[in-house]
């Protein structure tokens, strides 16, 4: 698993992907911080993360599109699947490499609260909850991207479908509030990963939300493994 993790992580930086991802996410985050916090002298970071969430709908497919699709296209999956490692380990290695890169960008974004700490007393508890929540949200989005990458051989298809699905999730959240039907709202609320994030923006670190995100990711990792396994049998 570590071998796959290391290779995948390095691959982000032997191609432009890693640099583009870090560059864009940090550029936009910097701009959101400058516009939303610095210029208004606000220590409130929830709007910062709400804006960032939308940006990540575009950025996450970039990280996940090649994860499994590329291996299938280049037939390198023949090497992976005929090596003495389980499919679970292969998938997890790849998933963790994407999470790590995402985590690194989030870690760099920790300079913003530090900057605020120099000049005032930001609500630290609130901010920690936001960072944890955003990390979990990102992980869930990555797991969707991972799953979609396993469904196709084409990276472009993988990226576009992932982007579409994530956009739908975002819209579903918006649709459910306008729908007015309580049952539909509940159901959509269950699949809406962005809805759950709202709790974190209010500074609530709810165990059930954390479990929800972890379960959500676990389900998609499991589905990814099943897709690969099923392809071996058909």
């Amino acid at each position: 698993m570590t071998a796959i993790f290391k290779r995948e992580f390095k691959a982000y930086f032997t191609s432009p992907t890693g640099y583009i991802f870090l560059g864009f996410s940090l550029l936009l985050a910097g701009w959101f911080f400058a516009a939303g916090n610095l210029s208004t002298s606000s220590a409130e970071m929830s709007s910062f993360f709400s804006s960032l969430g939308i940006i990540f709908i575009f950025l996450v497919p970039m990280l996940t599109m090649r994860l499994i699709a590329e291996d299938k296209r280049n037939k390198t999956d023949q090497l992976l699947l005929t090596s003495p490692v389980t499919i679970t380990k292969i998938v997890l290695g790849k998933f963790f490499s994407a999470i790590s890169l995402f985590g690194i960008s989030l870690l760099i974004m920790c300079v913003y609260p530090c900057i605020m700490l120099i000049y005032g007393q930001p609500p630290l508890g609130n901010i920690v909850a936001l960072y944890i929540g955003f990390f979990l949200l990102g992980t869930s989005l990555l797991s969707i991207g991972l799953f979609i990458s396993a469904l196709t051989e084409s990276q472009i298809t993988s990226a576009i479908v992932s982007f579409g699905v994530m956009l739908l999730l975002w819209l579903a959240d918006w649709v459910s509030t306008t729908l007015g039907n309580p049952i539909a709202t509940t159901i959509i609320g269950w699949v809406s990963v962005l809805k759950r994030f709202e709790e974190f923006t209010m500074g609530i670190l709810n165990l059930s939300s954390i479990v929800y995100y972890i379960t959500f990711s676990a389900i998609f990792v499991f589905l990814t493994i099943q897709v690969i396994e099923k392809k071996r049998w058909s």
Binding site: K6, T76, T82
Partner: protein, 326 residues
């Protein structure tokens, strides 16, 4: 060492591999021969655990591929038709990755250097794989299969797309490797198989149609032997002399390159060796034999007969099945 029993793989309604059974002994170099689309690659993919069969079992060293996939995969080095290379890595990085992936216990640097020496890629070790020529890519693929020193090598068309010099080098390398390992090699190039392999399995349309040593296969198919002779003297008289020998089935002739001589193709009845009677019959009549050779069917002939002629297929199939169940 390797035991394959009643393997069947269906793609939709089509059977890519149909009830294939064979065994491979330790240290054997087995050739897997068949036209394109015969099921060679599918069989190899099942054997190495890349895909699963619908029916049948694969056992390696007593381990079942479905029950103990890791034990089986540990013992097999696989070079697929397209070497599974990460083009964005350097050769050395790639081999290090494969080493880690396969969880090898040997001394890393030493082991990888040894393999790079063996397949002669040491001088390109720092280059990106995507910049390598086809021949070098193939070698890197082979190096990958050798990592972890597996007892079994499965090579799917290892010389496809190489130039003649590279083909010879790879073949020599495979022969060398075969001294200590069990090798299964697939090919649709016949001289390759005859140059490298001790035993051959011929597969067509997903079924094994022959499994034996090359000599035996051609003997079985041809049944009777054919003799080629270049004899000096009057065409009619010589033909008459040959025809009178016991065991001669038919004689055909054509003009020879040697002046005053003709080339005769003599087919014999099964079980007769007419070379000696032929000599005495002709020497009695003062017809000198300039050339005499036993004409066995070439591998191409065998292959074509097996894969195209129905009645031969049926005949050899019976024998093949007997062999493969041993």
């Amino acid at each position: 060492m390797i035991e394959i029993k009643n393997l069947t793989k269906r793609y939709g309604r089509k059977k890519a591999v149909n009830d294939v059974s064979f065994t491979v002994q330790k240290g054997e170099i087995l050739g897997f021969l068949g036209p394109n689309g015969a099921g060679k690659t599918t069989t190899m993919n099942i054997l190495t655990g890349y895909i699963s069969s619908n029916e049948g079992t694969v056992t390696v060293d007593g381990f079942d591929i479905l029950k103990n996939p890791e034990e089986v995969k540990k013992r097999i080095g696989y070079l697929p038709e397209n070497p599974p290379l990460y083009l964005d890595m350097t050769v050395i990085d790639y081999l290090n990755f494969v080493y880690d992936l396969k969880n090898v216990k040997l001394i890393k640097k030493e082991h990888i250097n040894e393999i790079m020496d063996l397949v002669k890629i040491t001088d390109v070790s720092m280059r990106l794989i995507k910049n390598l020529s086809k021949g070098y890519k193939q070698r890197v693929g082979l190096a990958q299969a050798l990592i972890g020193d597996p007892e079994i090598l499965v090579l799917d068309e290892p010389t496809v797309g190489l130039d003649p010099k590279q083909i010879n080098e790879i073949r020599a390398l495979i022969k060398k490797l075969g001294k200590e390992r069990t090798i299964i090699l697939s090919s649709h190039i016949l001289p390759e198989v005859s140059a490298i392999c001790e035993r051959v399995i011929i597969i067509n349309k997903g079924k094994i149609i022959a499994s034996d040593t090359l000599e035996n296969i051609s003997k079985n198919i041809s049944g009777a032997t054919t003799i080629f002779a270049r004899i000096e003297g009057n065409l009619d008289e010589v033909t008459k002399a040959i025809s009178s020998i016991e065991g001669v089935d038919s004689v055909s002739s054509k003009q020879s390159v040697d002046e005053g001589a003709n080339d005769y193709t003599i087919s014999t009845v099964e079980g007769f060796d007419i070379r000696r009677p032929l000599f005495f019959a002709l020497s009695e009549k003062q017809f000198p034999i300039l050339l005499l050779s036993n004409q066995t069917l070439s591998l191409e002939d065998v292959f074509l007969q097996l894969t195209t002629v129905e009645k031969h297929t049926a005949k050899v199939e019976g024998e093949a099945n007997n062999d493969s169940h041993i």
